[in-house]
């Protein structure tokens, strides 16, 4: 067996577990979210049974205090969570990576100003920043929440990108590439971005998890997606008063939330190890 084959197969074996579990958790969420676009067990907006019914064959997770099916709410919550996580990370990544790369290339003064601004932004708790943006907008909507979280994430991503880019730019292979006539744009797309991607992608997954939790917190506080969008955060808030009589109302969305966040992190870990060919041999 040639050295290439050994390193590839070993890498795949070692990390298959994290990747499989991550894929499964995120995949189930994604499938459920897609399913709700076409079908849900019951009408999410109207009562379909008695109030606070216990789990039964008709209502697998029981009903909430308005008599709505909890499983239906939970499924729609998955859609909200994925939408918020993906949207916020997409916004944060686009703004953050662009700013970070620009800062790494900027002159000293511009770079210092950007770095200081980012540090101040990061010193603000993500949730507080998001609450400010939501409060400043006229009407609370899912999109305001996504935008708010995206902006908060972009500060973190920008700072990380700036440092990673600076480190890559100091490497000899950048100089080597420059001596053969690669333009700065070519250097960024061919060398910088692929080399910072393994670290960035793991950070994106972390931010995805944080965004999902932050959205749940916003919804819990009544600043997230307004009804009729179901959100795990609001499910938790609604279950608060009846947590002793009907604990499933709080347990189910809690587990769903944790499962998605953990799944996303495992998935990112697994993908990073596949994406980085040098990792296989050091562990």
């Amino acid at each position: 067996m040639s050295p290439v084959e050994t390193s590839v197969s070993r890498r795949e074996q070692r990390h298959s577990l994290a990747l499989t579990v991550g894929l499964a958790l995120v995949g189930v969420n994604l499938l459920v979210a897609l399913l709700t676009l076409f079908w849900t067990p019951y009408d999410p907006l109207n009562a379909s049974g008695g109030r606070l019914e216990a789990p039964s064959l008709l209502h697998w997770l029981g009903t909430d205090r308005l008599g709505r099916d909890l499983l239906t709410q939970l499924m729609i919550g998955a859609r909200t969570a994925l939408l918020v996580g993906t949207g916020a990370v997409a916004i944060g990544a686009t703004i953050g990576v662009s700013l970070g790369v620009l800062a790494a290339f900027a002159t000293r003064i511009a770079d210092d100003v950007m770095a200081a601004t980012l540090d101040i932004l990061i010193a603000f708790p993500t949730l507080l920043l998001a609450m400010l943006v939501v409060a400043a907008s006229d009407s609370a909507s899912l999109w305001t929440a996504i935008l708010a979280l995206g902006l908060a994430i972009s500060a973190i991503v920008a700072r990380l990108t700036r440092i990673l880019t600076k480190r890559v730019l100091r490497q000899d292979y950048i100089v080597a590439s420059r001596t053969s006539g690669t333009s700065w744009a070519g250097v960024v797309f061919r060398h910088v971005l692929p080399n910072i991607w393994p670290t960035l992608s793991v950070n994106f997954a972390l931010q995805f998890g944080l965004a999902v939790i932050a959205e749940a917190s916003l919804s819990y506080l009544g600043l997230g997606a307004p009804p009729p969008n179901a959100s795990w955060g609001r499910l938790l808030q609604e279950a608060q008063g009846t947590v002793y009589t009907a604990p499933i109302g709080a347990i189910a969305p809690g587990i769903a939330l944790v499962a998605l966040v953990i799944g996303m992190n495992l998935l990112a870990d697994g993908l990073r190890d596949i994406g980085d060919p040098t990792r296989g041999r050091s562990r």
Binding site: S2, P3, V4, S7, Q171, D172, Y173, V175, A176, S177, R178, T179, S180, G181, T182, S183, W184, R190, H191, P194, N195, P198, D276, P277, T278, R281
Partner: protein
């Protein structure tokens, strides 16, 4: 015939500290020149300056004409066209000179593609891969299939340096700058790489600026040497004259040190 690289009164300084002072020399097409001196004598700085790759924080004055184009103060756009075509560089540390996340085949293909696009406006995949294959043959890398699909950490140090040389050759430069290309390699590999460089330079007829602190290594591949000490050129001339009959004290010490080292080797060998 005009000089390929013409350096006149070059001064390089970092802040108040002069790194290179009033250095002048020129390289004609096809000429092989060695630049020797101890660490920190400004050899690499000169090489970087010749391709306009010094960081902006380092001040450069004087005149550097590469292929009749002024390098000092030139914009990136001008320099990018010059780099590769006029001069390419092989670096000391072959591992860090290759992108760790890019397969070797693609790394060699990059400069090939750029050159083909400049020459004929387009570069077909076939033409590129044919040329990558040619280059790999030229630098005598074994198992081309495997090398093309390997990452830099999966091949040996000597092989990495051959890849780096292939990348430099891919640009078909008129001047090859080799910045201590054998320092990071063991002695056997060093000899192989030197032989390869020597042969390639003869075959392609490109000029060579060979930078090293190692006298015997330099003597093997070049015709003329410049001896640098603390950023000042203390002696210059044909290899035989400079090493056979050194004039400057510093050159004498260098030659003496190399002779003593050889004698020590001979003593243990017998």
């Amino acid at each position: 015939m005009t000089a390929l690289l013409n350096i006149q009164g070059l001064c390089i300084r970092a802040g108040d500290k002069p790194l290179v002072s009033d250095l002048s020399f020129s390289i004609r097409p096809g000429e092989r020149i060695g630049m020797i001196g101890e660490s920190g004598s400004g050899k690499s700085m000169t090489a970087m300056a010749a391709t306009g790759l010094l960081p902006v924080s380092i001040g450069v004055s004087g005149s550097i004409e590469l292929d009749s184009q002024q390098v000092v103060g030139a914009t990136d756009r001008v320099l990018n066209r010059l780099r590769g075509a006029a001069a390419a560089v092989v670096f000391q540390e072959p591992l860090t000179a290759l992108d760790p996340l890019m397969k070797i085949g693609r790394q060699i293909a990059e400069p090939v593609r750029r050159r083909l696009e400049l020459e004929s406006g387009k570069a077909s995949k076939d033409a590129i891969s044919r040329e990558v294959r040619d280059l790999i043959d030229k630098v005598a890398l074994p198992q081309p299939e495997r090398i093309i699909n390997s990452y830099p950490h999966e091949v040996s140090g000597g092989q990495r340096q051959r890849v780096a040389i292939a990348m430099a050759l891919a640009c078909r430069p008129k001047l090859l700058i080799a910045d201590e290309p054998t320092t990071a390699l063991d002695v056997t590999t060093q000899a192989e790489i030197l032989k390869l460089l020597d042969q390639l330079v003869r075959e392609t007829g490109m000029a060579l600026l060979f930078i090293s602190h190692d006298l015997p290594v330099v003597a093997q591949v070049v015709e003329r040497v410049i001896v640098l000490k603390n950023g000042v050129a203390v002696e210059e001339g044909p290899v035989k004259t400079v090493f056979g009959n050194p004039q400057h004290d510093y050159t004498k010490t260098l030659v003496e040190a190399a002779r003593l080292f050889d004698e020590a080797l001979g003593a243990t060998g017998s």
